[in-house]
């Protein structure tokens, strides 16, 4: 009984500590970004008023918008509203920032999920093939191809994809977004090239991480034992090697998803997609501090939440971690160092 209470208290303390860290991350990130924007030359009033703006008009509008106050006062004012769920109203669009984020979230979310699914669908089989034939010409060929993907940034891949698939072949649109309610086919056609452009780098990263983990696992004694029992290579690969090799993949997949949800600024700009990336890019250019703060807070919270989900999911993959909280540290350390799961742990 006493031990149970102590255990619950420990879990509660752990949860509170994590929430505290998460809040601190969000606070530091939003403060840092707001500070950087305040240090940048120019102001939202100058952007709004454009040509013919007199210094008097700029000063008047800055006062009207509250930007004549000290930075820390502005930030604390924003924060006091943000913790109550009010991210403010954009002085440029006159639209509540929460509404602006929610308007764009479906686009970015779909793009992120599609990019992640595409990455995994392509990278996992490639990694399995590479690991199964490690060192072969096929493995080297796949690794070389993914190296190309890794070294081609989205701002290069995007125009190349547009040129071939939109301008020359005319099989996908060059830009723009079609909501799902206007037809799933048209929606997927509009999303395919941006998702592929965003996925290319992820494919390379996923392939490399999973391949390395699989190769390490396949060299373990328990795999050799399984093979010695006469189990087929595919059975050994999928039943014995794949699961313990997927910690690192899970971690970087989750972080990729969080990053993609945070807005793929380049891809959204290249393909003119009305997503979170475009929202923050325009807000930065227009010195729309309120929108930038709101979107940054949203992105920070997304990262924190995804990290927490990853923590929890370790336990789902490896039941031992559910029983031993300290073992999660091992898992995290493992994912960071991309080490394969030790045979002894799994066969214990």
């Amino acid at each position: 009984m006493c031990a149970s209470n102590t255990g619950q208290a420990a879990v509660l303390r752990s949860a509170l500590r994590k929430i505290g860290y998460a809040a601190l991350v969000v606070l530091v990130v939003t403060f840092g970004v707001s500070l950087m924007l305040s240090l940048a030359p120019g102001s939202v009033a100058e952007t709004i008023l454009g040509e013919n703006a007199t210094p008097e008009n700029v000063a008047l509008l800055n006062k009207e918008l509250g930007y004549d106050r000290p930075f820390i006062v502005q930030y604390l004012d924003w924060l006091s509203h943000a913790v109550r769920g009010d991210l403010g109203v954009s002085p440029i669009t006159h639209l509540p920032v929460t509404e602006a984020i929610l308007q764009r979230l479906p686009v970015t979310l779909e793009l992120a999920v599609l990019a992640l699914v595409l990455s995994l669908v392509i990278a996992v089989p490639l990694a399995i093939v590479s690991a199964a034939r490690a060192g072969s010409a096929l493995d080297r060929g796949i690794s070389a191809a993914t190296s190309v993907f890794l070294s081609v940034p989205a701002f290069v891949a995007g125009p190349v994809l547009i040129y071939f698939f939109a301008v020359q072949l005319r099989v996908f649109p060059a830009l723009g977004w079609v909501p799902i309610e206007d037809g799933l086919g048209a929606n997927l056609a509009a999303a395919f090239l941006p998702a592929l452009a965003a996925a290319l780098v992820e494919i390379a990263a996923f392939h490399r991480v999973l391949r390395a983990d699989l190769i390490g696992t396949l060299r373990e004694d328990f795999v050799a034992a399984a093979r010695a029992k006469g189990l087929s290579p595919s059975y050994v690969m999928f039943r014995h090697a794949f699961r313990p090799s997927s910690f690192s993949l899970l971690t970087i997949s989750a972080l990729s998803l969080a990053r993609l949800i945070g807005g793929t600024i380049i891809v959204e700009t290249l393909f003119v997609l009305p997503g979170i990336g475009q929202l923050i890019a325009n807000a930065v250019l227009q010195r729309d501090v309120v929108t930038v703060q709101g979107v940054v807070a949203f992105i920070a919270v997304t990262f924190v939440v995804v990290n927490m989900i990853v923590d929890v999911s370790y336990g789902l993959i490896d039941p031992r971690l559910r029983r031993a909280p300290a073992a999660r540290k091992i898992a995290r350390g493992r994912s960071r160092t991309v080490k394969p799961v030790q045979k002894k742990e799994l066969t214990a």
Binding site: E46, V107, V272
Partner: protein, 519 residues
């Protein structure tokens, strides 16, 4: 060494690429056909230069970037005369001044209503233009609207504007600003956020749906006053700031019409078989000097730069191979065109002037205000050309893009790239060069001869008399160099052959009501 297999693979890929290119060129549009009578129906897909951030006239940054969007919702309050470039009434019945621009009488036609049924009358005009002055709204047109001291509603259809100081060019500059767009006061009173969900004007189209930074869908206004216009059933508009992206969308068949102002894109579009509609503004883009402060308060400093620069080479560098340095202040299409060269390239004379200034203890050292974007290529070309002279040094003065609008008004610069493009000389040219024009005289140019000629041109009623005065202005600009123009300024469109009715005359065109699709 390349193996045979690899060579074969490369050859195969090259052949494939050529085959793809051949396929695409065969599917490109052909030469335009004769337009014939307008036909009603169809949905036109348009890409404009920028996406709107909202439809409240107070939120309009640059109506020139989104002419189809705004003319669709609001119609055209003023329209450019295609011969003279001067603005005349569109939605209004008359807009006149009998006292040299101190006061104006705006008369509205009877029976004009917004799409919510409320009248577009003198009260609506007063409400809209007074509202733009509200600092809380932060309109980019606040400065221009503030030239109006007050508006009196004389009767239901007549509003009398009293300006703070006389401005004979007030009407001609209006279409550049949000005063061109008149919205329903009833709808505006609900607030900007609500208005953007249901914008109400008296234009040929009404809002169907809008995704910010996405697609704007508009449908025909069945009660449009100028039936049978509009001819189209619907418009689908998207704002795409990048030139290459707009062109790609046209090439891929994703758009029927794209707006464009870049010479290189016009050429690429034309070579792919699309139809070009281009309006060349008078004047152009060039170096603007702050003539009120050293070193360019001395005309010799400006003249030295003008003599020193090979503007065709500079234009070539700035436009990546599509030079368009204007030779004269008025384009050849203008009734005021005269062959008075704006600039003479004379390196020897330039060096003489640089040396003369140096001998007086004033070697020419100045900064060029550089903004993010393509300003860097202009600066690089400027610096490269001036480096071949002695006693002249130019340095980059890096600025933030948010300062771009305000820098001309504050005068916190020595030289920068700016536009002296205009269609109606009585307005924008007057505003840029008349000594007491106020905030719009960004170069702070002050020349009594130019002032007198601009005033006389504004007062003249026939084209010949105006032309005589504008030739004086042109001579003064060529002599005193408040601007050195190195690039033509265009408003235009590229379209498939089936798009008809594209009329581009100056700012805020083509009007949406005129567009139609050939079946």
């Amino acid at each position: 060494m390349i193996s045979k297999k690899r060579s074969a693979l490369i050859a195969l890929m090259a052949a494939g690429t050529l085959a793809l290119a051949a396929c695409s060129s065969s599917s490109a549009p052909s030469e335009p056909t004769t337009s014939g009578d307008p036909v009603s129906g169809g949905t036109l897909r348009v890409l404009e230069l920028a996406p709107p951030i909202g439809f409240d006239p107070a939120q309009v940054f640059s109506s020139n970037s989104m002419p189809v969007t705004y003319t669709a919702l609001y119609g055209q309050f003023m329209v450019a005369d295609e011969t003279t470039g001067e603005y005349v009434c569109g939605l209004c019945e008359s807009f006149t001044s009998s006292d040299g621009g101190a006061t104006y009488d705006v008369v509205m036609p009877e029976g004009l209503t917004f799409t919510d049924g409320t009248p577009l009358d003198a009260e609506a005009i007063k409400y809209n233009w007074d509202r733009l002055k509200d600092p809380a709204l932060g309109s980019a047109s606040a400065g221009y609207a503030s030239q109006i001291d007050h508006i009196d509603v004389v009767d239901d259809l007549t509003a009398k504007l009293t300006l703070k100081s006389p401005n004979p060019g007030f009407v001609g500059n209006m279409p550049v600003y949000a005063l061109q767009w008149i919205a329903s006061p009833t709808a505006l009173a609900k607030g900007t956020e609500e208005f953007n969900k249901n914008p109400v004007g008296a234009g040929p189209f009404v809002l169907d749906s809008w995704t910010p930074n996405g697609t704007l869908k508009l449908t025909k206004n069945p009660d449009y006053y100028d039936a049978p216009k509009p001819y189209l059933d619907a418009l689908e508009i998207q704002g795409v700031p990048d030139n290459a992206q707009r062109l790609n969308a046209l090439l891929s068949g994703q758009a029927d019409l794209i707006m464009n102002s870049e010479a290189s894109v016009f050429e690429e579009g034309k070579s792919a078989g699309f139809v070009e509609t281009r309006y060349t503004f008078n004047g152009g883009v060039g170096f603007m000097f702050n003539t009120s402060a050293a070193p360019f308060d001395d005309p010799r400093a400006r003249q030295a730069i003008a003599y020193a620069l090979d503007l065709d080479a500079l234009s070539d560098a700035a436009t990546a191979g599509y030079p368009s340095a204007p030779k004269t202040l008025f384009s050849k299409d203008s009734p005021y065109y005269e062959d008075i060269p704006l600039q003479t390239y004379d390196p020897d004379k330039a060096q003489e002037l640089f040396d003369e200034l140096a001998d007086e203890g004033k070697p020419l050292e100045f900064s060029y205000a550089l903004f993010p974007g393509n300003g860097q290529s202009v600066f690089d070309a400027l610096q490269a050309q001036l480096s071949s002279y002695d006693n002249v040094t130019v340095t980059a003065d890096q600025r933030d893009s948010s300062e771009q609008g305000v820098i001309g008004t504050t005068g916190d610069y020595q030289v920068l790239s700016s536009s002296l493009a205009f269609s109606d000389p009585s307005a924008r040219l007057w505003g840029a060069l008349f000594s007491t024009a106020g905030a719009t005289n960004y170069s702070r140019f002050n020349d009594p001869v130019t002032d007198a000629a601009l005033t006389a041109a504004g007062a003249a009623t026939d084209v010949d008399a105006k032309k005589e005065q504008y030739s004086i202005v042109q001579q003064q600009v060529a002599e005193l160099d408040p601007y050195i123009l190195f690039q033509g300024f265009y408003n235009g469109a590229l379209s498939t052959e089936k798009v008809k009715g594209i009329e581009i005359d100056g700012w805020t065109t083509p009007p949406a009501a005129e567009l139609w699709l050939q079946p």
